[in-house]
């Protein structure tokens, strides 16, 4: 079980100004575990998601992301541990949680034979919103997801990206504080991904807390303010991207290029260690060093190191 990482908590010694004080977490998980027989899908994870953040859950297929989301969304009973949403336990008050969250599952489940507006009307009714407000609400939602001209279109006639946006509008129909988006960019073309990313940033600016999972790490890198890296049902690291980079990579990496085309990447904790390692490399390695360059530490690299796969990658890189 990983240690709890309380993201963004201020130093207890030097109080920060009130405006910079962290907001309480909107989601808090402690020892959250889900087992199916002998299979442990989620293995005692702890994390906090601050209100207003965009929290990215990174992990490969089968890491336990969707199961974690299903427990947050009051669909699954945890085998052990707890999760609260705005202080509400989904096991005790599932309706309270459902009012607070909007969930977009990893598959686009829409009623293809309905028009976009009928689809949204159904969910407005399902959330028991006053009928008098439906039309204005639908107008606003369709404008937000840039589908105003598709109001009367049959859902089946829309592209996958548009369906994804209809699904997002559905998740927003009751104006939830927390949005849970499970692999929202899956299957989208590059343009649709960019549009989705912009939409997420817009929603974040509206004060929504967004929890998003993906195995396409570049997407999360661009939008997330908080990250958790998950594999095999466990959270291997969590925090801000900077915190994770520091904890995972020792701070910096340098690529050393040799004459003849070989190269190697060196990870080091700080500037002095970096200098020492480079000097040692130049002195000991029989090959001629022709250059050094800092390696941009992208999310993919962090993920590989955190999940213990960096050695394989480094070896592959050195052999190339």
């Amino acid at each position: 079980m990983t240690d709890a990482t309380t993201i963004g908590i201020a130093s207890p010694i030097v109080p920060e100004p009130a405006a910079a004080r962290p907001t309480p977490p909107i989601v808090r998980a402690r020892g959250l575990t889900k087992r199916y027989g002998s299979l442990t899908a989620v293995d005692g994870i702890d994390f906090d998601i601050p209100a207003g953040s965009i929290f990215g859950l990174i992990g490969p297929n089968g890491a336990g992301k969707s199961t974690t989301f299903a427990m947050i969304a009051s669909l699954l009973i945890p085998t052990s541990g707890t999760v609260t949403i705005s202080g509400i336990d989904p096991m005790q008050d599932p309706k309270g949680v459902r009012k607070a969250i909007g969930w977009m599952p990893d598959t686009i489940g829409v009623y293809g034979d309905l028009t976009v507006e009928d689809y949204l009307r159904f969910f407005a009714a399902a959330y028991r919103l006053p009928k008098a407000n439906w039309e204005g609400l639908i107008d606003g939602l369709l404008e937000l997801v840039n589908l105003g001209d598709k109001r009367l279109a049959q859902v089946d006639s829309l592209s996958r990206g548009m369906k994804q946006r209809v699904s997002l509008a559905r998740a927003l129909v009751h104006d939830p504080d927390l949005l849970i988006l499970d692999e929202p960019a899956s299957g989208l073309d590059p343009r649709a991904r960019v549009e989705l990313r912009e939409l997420l940033l817009q929603l974040s600016s509206m004060g929504k807390t967004i929890v998003i999972s993906s195995h396409i790490l570049a997407e999360l890198d661009a939008v997330c303010t908080q990250l958790a890296i998950m594999e095999g049902g466990r959270v291997h690291a969590s925090g801000t991207p900077a915190e994770i980079r520091t904890s995972a990579g020792g701070g910096r990496r340098v690529r050393v290029d040799f004459l003849g085309g070989d190269s190697v990447e060196i990870a080091c904790a700080g500037e002095h260690e970096q200098a020492a390692l480079l000097v040692e490399l130049v002195n000991r390695d029989p090959r001629t060093v022709i250059g050094f360059s800092p390696v941009a530490d992208d999310l993919e690299g962090i993920y590989m190191r955190v999940t213990g796969r960096v050695a394989d990658v480094a070896a592959t890189g050195a052999n190339q």
């Binding site: 598959t107 309905l114 009714a125 959330y127 028991r128 006053p130």
Partner: protein, 343 residues
């Protein structure tokens, strides 16, 4: 802010009706249904009128009065068969289809209750059946106009049919909630229908044979074996005994061509003969003995003999109610979240 929803404002019902009623499929189903029923009515009418009026003498003419009753029973029988065929077909995908389309979780995570979802699905199925029944009223009206059938009898028969459809819808929605795939759900639902109808006939037949093998006694096979069978219930509710038809005051009902008799030769009449099987005076299983009718004063005996019949429809209504409740409970429990496994 939320608003209160009345049962008929069930969002699932509204959506289902919008989805189902606006498709060419429903128009095709209704058209086929009416074409089949219409063809049956037309064929029967032509056959019966030709048979009854084409003979010699007064007897043929007076028997024409049974045409109305016969047509009514035939139409009712085929309506029951079509309901048994259509309801599971239309309802089996109700939950399993949502699961396959990945739309179920979105509903479960909304403020819809599991019971609300199930009731919406059942009501949508019953609404479809009601549509079919209302659409077939003109065909039933043919037999009403010919005579031998009262408006109340039509309403009671349709009511029993509708109740059978309701019960069947509840059972089928439960099947749909239990089985993950639509195909499996359809197979399970039709399997249950076959067991309810065909299985009950087989069980009754086996028990009759056992009963007969024990020698001469007055014990009939237990009627509860048939209590799940909508066809038997419909046959029972359409039954008027085997002599001339009597009104609630015990008077013989006359049609335009003479006294209306009850021997309609319809499938429902045949089903009744099965359920009324008993050892006759020759020690064989046979049809009920003819009810001695003396229009001048023997009415009480006739009514007493009618009272010997097995009251299947009552048992059917009770059994169907129980099955419907079980279906609703099972489906609701299957949709309840949070759950230990994904539903």
């Amino acid at each position: 802010m939320t608003s209160v929803q009345l049962p008929w404002q069930n969002p699932v019902l509204a959506r289902e009706l919008k989805q189902r009623m606006s498709t060419p499929r429903i128009m095709l189903v209704i058209t086929l249904y009416l074409v089949v029923l219409g063809a049956i009515v037309l064929g029967l009418y032509n056959a019966r009128t030709g048979q009854r009026t084409g003979g010699f003498g007064q007897a043929g003419i007076t028997q024409v009065a049974t045409i109305g009753q016969g047509l009514f029973e035939w139409v009712l029988f085929f309506m029951a068969l079509l309901v048994l065929f259509i309801v599971p077909g239309f309802t089996a995908a109700s939950i399993a289809g949502e699961r396959e389309r990945q739309t179920l979780r979105a509903m479960q995570i909304s403020l819809l209750s599991p019971f609300g979802i199930v009731v919406g699905k059942v009501m949508a199925s019953v609404a479809l059946t009601m549509l079919l029944l209302v659409a077939s009223l003109p065909l039933l009206a043919v037999s009403y106009l010919i005579g031998g059938i009262t408006f109340g009898e039509i309403l009671i028969s349709l009511g029993v049919l509708l109740f059978a459809a309701f019960s069947l819808s509840c059972i089928t929605v439960a099947c749909s909630s239990l089985v993950k795939g639509v195909t499996g759900s359809i197979l399970l639902a039709y399997g249950i229908v076959i067991a309810m109808v065909g299985g009950s006939f087989i069980a009754f037949g086996v028990l009759s044979e056992i009963d007969q093998s024990r020698g001469f006694d007055q014990a009939d096979p237990p009627s509860w074996v048939m209590a799940t069978n909508p066809l038997v219930a419909i046959a029972d509710v359409a039954d008027r005994g085997s002599g001339p038809q009597l009104d609630p005051f015990g008077n013989v009902i006359f049609g335009p061509f003479g006294p209306v008799t009850n021997n309609t030769d319809s499938p429902l009449s045949f089903i009744r003969s099965m359920t009324e099987s008993r050892f006759n005076q020759f020690g064989e299983i046979g049809f009920p003995e003819p009810i001695p009718v003396d229009i001048g004063g023997a009415i009480p005996e006739a009514r007493d003999l009618q009272a010997d019949r097995i009251p299947i429809v009552g048992e059917f209504l009770i059994t169907s109610s129980v099955l419907a409740v079980i279906g609703l409970v099972v489906a609701t429990r299957r949709l309840r979240t949070p759950a230990a496994t994904e539903r």
